[in-house]
């Protein structure tokens, strides 16, 4: 059950990147105005634990065209492919979330931010995590982060690309105003203009699940390049 919850959170974040930009309600992206945010020195952010699995997902699974039974087939196929991926690249050797924080936290500190880390557990309600971030602890702003990672393929017969999505929202504690709100996506590119896209290495694509699991080192390397690249981009966007 726990495994499914973790998979769900990853899928949720990856899906949110699409949902938040694709719904009738427009995602209100907001670039960070460093010059106007000189007063933001201390920030809180959630430190999520690693997912217990990295998902392998066919985004537009053909099963979804065939009603509930088809969707059930699609869900079972996703579970099976995710299992295959995690057998050859065990999650303990591909800790995407940890890698993100290992890169991001020192960068934020080197930029002059004092960072207060608030532990968060996958499965926790976002509202509870936000409340913990906003609890007065000397911070000027709270940086709410959600992230998910794995491999995505657009369809049943298209390539798998490494995918990591991060949604980052910085809220000024005093004014309660959102001063930065962006969606970042590594590897898998839907072409959505609301999403900041960071490309993977050109050879980081795999024609099917067999190719994805044939060379675990390459599969892991392509996936693990994502957190470092996104951490660099996000911290660079938060420069004052």
């Amino acid at each position: 059950m726990k495994i499914v919850s973790n998979r769900l959170l990853s899928l949720f974040v990856l899906a949110s990147a699409v949902l938040m930009t694709g719904c009738a309600t427009k995602f209100e992206r907001q670039a960070f105005n460093g010059e106007a945010a000189a007063h933001i020195k201390t920030i809180t952010l959630p430190q999520w634990n690693d997912a217990e699995e990295n998902a392998a997902v066919v985004i537009n699974h053909p099963g979804n065209s065939f009603g509930l039974i088809g969707m059930a087939v699609a869900a079972a196929d996703t579970a099976s492919k995710t299992k295959k991926l995690n057998e050859v690249v065990p999650p303990a050797t591909a800790k995407v979330t940890t890698a993100f924080y290992n890169e991001a936290l020192p960068l934020l500190k080197s930029m002059g931010y004092e960072v207060i880390v608030v532990p968060a557990k996958r499965g926790d309600k976002f509202d509870d995590v936000k409340a913990a971030l906003n609890k007065p602890q000397g911070q000027d702003a709270s940086l709410f982060l959600t992230m998910g990672a794995g491999y995505n393929a657009a369809g049943a017969s298209t390539d798998y690309f490494p995918a990591m999505a991060v949604i980052a929202t910085l809220t000024d504690i005093k004014s309660n105003k959102v001063v930065y709100n962006e969606i970042y996506q590594y590897g898998y590119n839907t072409g959505d203009k609301e999403v900041i896209f960071v490309a993977a290495a050109p050879d980081c694509k795999f024609k099917d699940i067999d190719a994805l699991t044939a060379n675990p080192d390459k599969t892991r390397t392509c996936l693990m390049a994502g957190p470092a690249l996104l951490a660099k981009q996000i911290t660079s966007d938060l420069k004052k």
């Binding site: 694709g22 670039a31 979804n64 969707m71 369809g155 298209t158 896209f197």
Partner: protein, 214 residues
């Protein structure tokens, strides 16, 4: 897999399905950055055609009829935005949508490798942003320009494409819907595209933090 696990996986998969069927709906206006005949009009920036910074999300087409100016490579299309007099901080977002101009070739795209130069009222250059320092939003270059108190002397934003920008390649992974007789079949496709630099194309401009003066 028990029933609850199964239901959760099913839910997550349908979330993707729903997400993929949604489309971005935004209100846009269109401004015609065109005049009757394209010609190299001017010897100095002060003589260039000006367009007021639009307050809402606005599409601007740079095409054959757009006024041109020679920035050093050849006469090329541009848009010169006239900024309002500074009263409070604001920003504007410039985004380029790459286009596939060929009727039969939908994989060769052109993009405007954005160059944005900020000028004061006497056309003295204050800041310059090049595409090489910009992020890609989807497949298009994108830049948010902030006008803070220290930038209040800036009154014009000149936008044009860097014609020397290197060609690029990209893959867009998207939904592919087919009608198969009994209904729609939703699948996915990877579209590999090439992006070459052009002075023509579509950009959007959106101001944030500005109120309409009545």
């Amino acid at each position: 897999m028990n029933k609850k696990q199964f239901a959760l996986i099913l839910l997550s998969t349908s979330t993707f399905a729903i997400a993929q069927t949604s489309e971005v709906k935004t209100e846009t206006a269109t401004v015609a950055a065109t005049v009757a005949v394209a010609e190299t009009c001017c010897k100095q920036y002060a003589e260039l055609n000006k367009t007021a910074l639009p307050l809402t999300l606005t599409k601007i087409f740079l095409d054959e009829k757009t006024p041109v100016y020679d920035f050093g490579n050849k006469a090329q299309a541009y848009i010169l935005l006239e900024l309002p007099k500074f009263t409070e901080p604001y920003s504007f977002i410039v985004h380029n949508f790459p286009l596939a101009p060929g009727m039969f070739n939908r994989t060769s795209f052109t993009q405007i490798a954005l160059r944005i130069e900020m000028f004061d009222e006497n056309f003295v250059s204050k800041r310059m942003y090049r595409h090489t320092g910009m992020k890609k939003h989807g497949i298009g270059f994108d830049k948010t320009v902030f006008i803070n108190p220290q930038n209040q002397s800036e009154r014009y934003a000149l936008i044009y494409g860097d014609l020397t920008a290197a060609p690029e390649e990209a893959t867009i992974s998207q939904r592919d819907t087919m009608f198969v007789g009994t209904g729609f079949f939703v699948g996915g496709e990877d579209k590999k595209i090439s992006l070459s630099s052009s002075d023509k194309g579509l950009i959007t401009v959106e101001a944030k933090g500005l109120k309409e003066v009545k």
